[in-house]
């Protein structure tokens, strides 16, 4: 520790992350204790490595907390960079819409929304063009990538319509 950092303030972001790690360690410990162990495997059972993992995570998270309380580990430049909250919100909205819509509305519709929202998050101001590109991209990905690899991504109305026009049995 250099003398100048003696009066360093608690780094809140780092502290939150470190507490998150501690919480994870507690969950791992709790779930490890929930694993029933048959007496046959008592010595080399299924809980030894989980226990080591829980303890390891716990010790490391305490070290992280100590680091955060002493002013954190990030450079000043990184600390002062404020994340673009609006961009993150657009992305989160796009991802959420995607999870909710991919089942009921089909992959293409969900993808177009995700594509447009992501482009918006990165500063695009032309949603109609983005939606068009998103649709082209989704269909290309669906027919080129997913069908070629034999991945079934659940056709929606749009995909079925195109497949029936092209005469591909799905």
């Amino acid at each position: 520790m250099s003398p100048s950092s003696g009066g360093a303030r608690v780094a809140r972001g780092e502290l939150a992350v470190a507490l998150g790690a501690l919480a994870l360690a507690c969950v791992v410990l709790w779930q490890t204790l929930e694993i029933p162990v048959s007496p046959i495997y008592a010595r080399v059972g299924p809980t030894i490595i989980p226990m080591i993992t829980a303890v390891g995570l716990g010790v490391l998270s305490l070290l992280l907390i100590a680091g955060a309380l002493r002013g954190g580990w990030q450079t000043d430049e990184e600390k002062h960079a404020t994340p673009d909250r609006k961009a993150l919100l657009w992305l989160a909205a796009g991802l959420l819409a995607n999870v909710l819509l991919i089942g009921p509305a089909g992959f293409s519709v969900a993808s177009v929304i995700l594509f447009t929202a992501t482009a918006r998050a990165f500063g695009s101001t032309r949603p109609v063009r983005d939606a068009g590109m998103g649709l082209a991209f989704a269909l290309l990905a669906y027919f080129g990538f997913a069908r070629a690899l034999g991945i079934n991504i659940g056709a929606g109305l749009l995909e079925r319509a195109i497949e029936s026009v092209l005469g591909i049995a799905s």
């Binding site: 972001g13 780092e14 992350v17 790690a21 994870l24 791992v28 779930q31 694993i35 048959s38 495997y41 010595r43 080399v44 299924p46 030894i48 490595i49 989980p50 993992t53 390891g56 995570l57 998270s61 992280l64 680091g67 580990w73 990030q74 960079a81 994340p83 673009d84 961009a87 657009w90 992305l91 991802l95 995607n98 999870v99 991919i102 089942g103 992959f107 993808s111 995700l114 594509f115 447009t116 992501t118 482009a119 918006r120 998050a121 990165f122 500063g123 695009s124 983005d130 590109m133 991209f137 989704a138 990905a141 669906y142 990538f145 997913a146 690899l149 034999g150 991945i151 991504i153 659940g154």
Partner: protein, 501 residues
């Protein structure tokens, strides 16, 4: 020589039209994703893992190897022209390469990095062909305890020694090990960490974790930092033909870079950062024009690029002979082996000679293809750099969704993907390395298996790891690797601290 006969057989596998096609597809795709910022070989191979259900192993690995090598070639183009190194190993290339490009010598920088990559890749592949059988001979004597210790060593070096902080690296590693533990324990049939969810009984899919960390997390991070970046693509200027002077200043760094990169990459510790940095400093020391360093010295591109590619080849040695991946990409490839029901390890060369030697032969062919793809056709790749960020990242997220949703059509997987993406964002934001997560997740269960075998053999006696000479010395190395730097720091700091108080 036995290896040569085996290699000839490998070429017979690799030169079939279908495998040549896979090799070309892999090299092209690899170069493309290497050029594009935000995409890397680990992510791409993870998205293509479902291919293992459709094509035979040799073809799939030829494809993956093409992507792996191709990404190294493509990555240097981005470092030179855009100054945004895609991965830490190409940071060094950007140092001098970008300066050369700014000085109007982009052509020469691209040429020396492509030809250097070719030289290093070819020599490195030759190294695999001759070193792999030797390592196998040694590895056949390893018991479960030795394997476990070796994995501990790999864990420690990958997460604690190579990154910027041992604590953060090890936290990432343990997080990965925990992810790998989720699901039914194969030995006892006991469900672990499934939180009562049926979907988790089979474990967390590595595709979900890799795509979540590398695609979703990366996209979130880039979006949050969009305003503070000022990337400028430098137009391609200068002849791609190197002058006589440039050749004479390049060839020795290529060879020295290879000599550094391959052995370090082949160690069970791995990592491309150390050899590339070492190569840079050695070239700076040996250069006849050290004053050019920092302003675009060609040696500073030639050496580190060769070191990077040679270490990429080296990493394949422990992966193929010991089943020990030391990079995120190698870990994903290991999971592809598992998906075929093949166990990489000392028996692999005997049980799957067609596969291994076909793969090695295809690496030679791939290097030739990559040289052709990356020099005469460089203009195409430069065009790819001009894809606007909104379109690029939107495309990445849509692809990430298809790749994940396709596994099981379960929204649970998507939710898990986005949750891991959020964790990936936080890790990136707070400077945690992500590769240890993948390595811990793939290697963790294997380490546990060896641990339990060793403990069963010793009837529950923990001392087995310390009484076997091999295992004990490997563990000692691991301890030195993790504690050594800290102790050194304490030892050198103690007098100063004494003065202060």
């Amino acid at each position: 020589m036995d290896a040569l006969a085996q290699l000839a057989q490998g070429f017979a596998v690799a030169l079939t039209p279908i495998n040549l096609m896979w090799c070309l597809v892999g090299c092209t795709l690899g170069t493309a994703i290497g050029v594009l910022p935000g995409l890397g070989p680990a992510l791409t191979i993870a998205l293509l893992l479902p291919i293992t259900f459709k094509v035979e192993p040799a073809s799939a690995f030829i494809l993956f190897a093409g992507i792996y090598y191709g990404a190294m070639y493509g990555g240097s183009t981005t470092s030179i022209l855009l100054n945004t190194p895609g991965e830490s190993a190409t940071i060094v290339t950007a140092l001098e390469g970008n300066k050369m490009a700014r000085g109007g010598r982009a052509g020469a920088a691209l040429a020396t990095s492509a030809i250097g990559s070719f030289v290093a890749g070819t020599l490195g592949t030759l190294g695999i062909a001759f070193l792999a059988p030797v390592v196998v001979d040694v590895a056949l004597r390893f018991g479960p305890a030795d394997y476990f210790s070796l994995m501990v060593l790999a864990f420690v070096t990958v997460s604690a020694v190579l990154g910027s902080s041992a604590v953060r690296g090890l936290t990432a590693l343990f997080f990965g090990i925990w992810l790998g533990l989720i699901g039914v324990d194969l030995q006892t049939g006991q469900a672990r960490f499934t939180f009562g969810l049926q979907e988790l009984l089979d474990g967390v899919n590595v595709i979900v974790v890799a795509v979540g960390l590398f695609a979703v997390g990366e996209t979130l991070y880039m979006a949050s930092r969009r305003l503070s970046s000022d990337d400028e693509i430098i137009p391609l200027r200068g002849s791609l033909w190197m002058t006589r002077e440039e050749w004479s200043r390049s060839w020795k760094p290529w060879l020295r870079g290879t000599a550094l990169g391959f052995p370090i990459g082949a160690m069970p510790a791995g990592g491309a950062e150390i050899p590339t940095f070492l190569s840079y400093f050695i070239e700076k020391k040996l250069s006849r024009k050290p004053e050019e360093f920092g302003h675009g010295a060609i040696e500073g591109v030639a050496g580190p690029e060769a070191a990077n590619n040679a270490s990429a080849a080296g990493v394949l040695v422990p992966m193929l002979t010991l089943g020990l991946p030391t990079s995120a990409t190698a870990a994903i490839m290991l999971s592809a082996f598992q998906s075929y029901g093949i166990n990489p390890g000392p028996m692999l060369l005997q049980s799957q000679p067609q596969l291994v030697w076909g793969l090695i032969a295809s690496l030679f062919i791939g290097n030739v293809m990559l040289l052709a793809l990356n020099l005469p056709m460089i203009a195409i790749w430069v065009k790819m750099l001009q894809i606007p960020a909104p379109i690029l990242y939107a495309g990445i997220l849509v692809f990430a969704t298809i790749g994940t949703y396709g596994i099981s059509q379960s929204p649970i997987d998507l939710i898990l993907l986005y949750a891991i993406g959020a964790v990936g964002y936080l890790m990136r934001r707070y400077d945690f390395p992500t590769a240890p997560v993948i390595i811990g997740m793939i290697l963790g269960p294997l380490a546990e298996q060896n641990f339990r075998q060793a403990m069963t053999i010793s009837a529950g006696d923990w001392s087995v790891f310390f009484t076997r000479p091999l295992s004990a010395s490997i563990l000692a190395l691991a301890l030195i690797a993790v504690a050594g730097p800290k102790l050194y720091e304490l030892a050198t700091r103690a007098p100063a601290a004494g003065q202060a108080t």
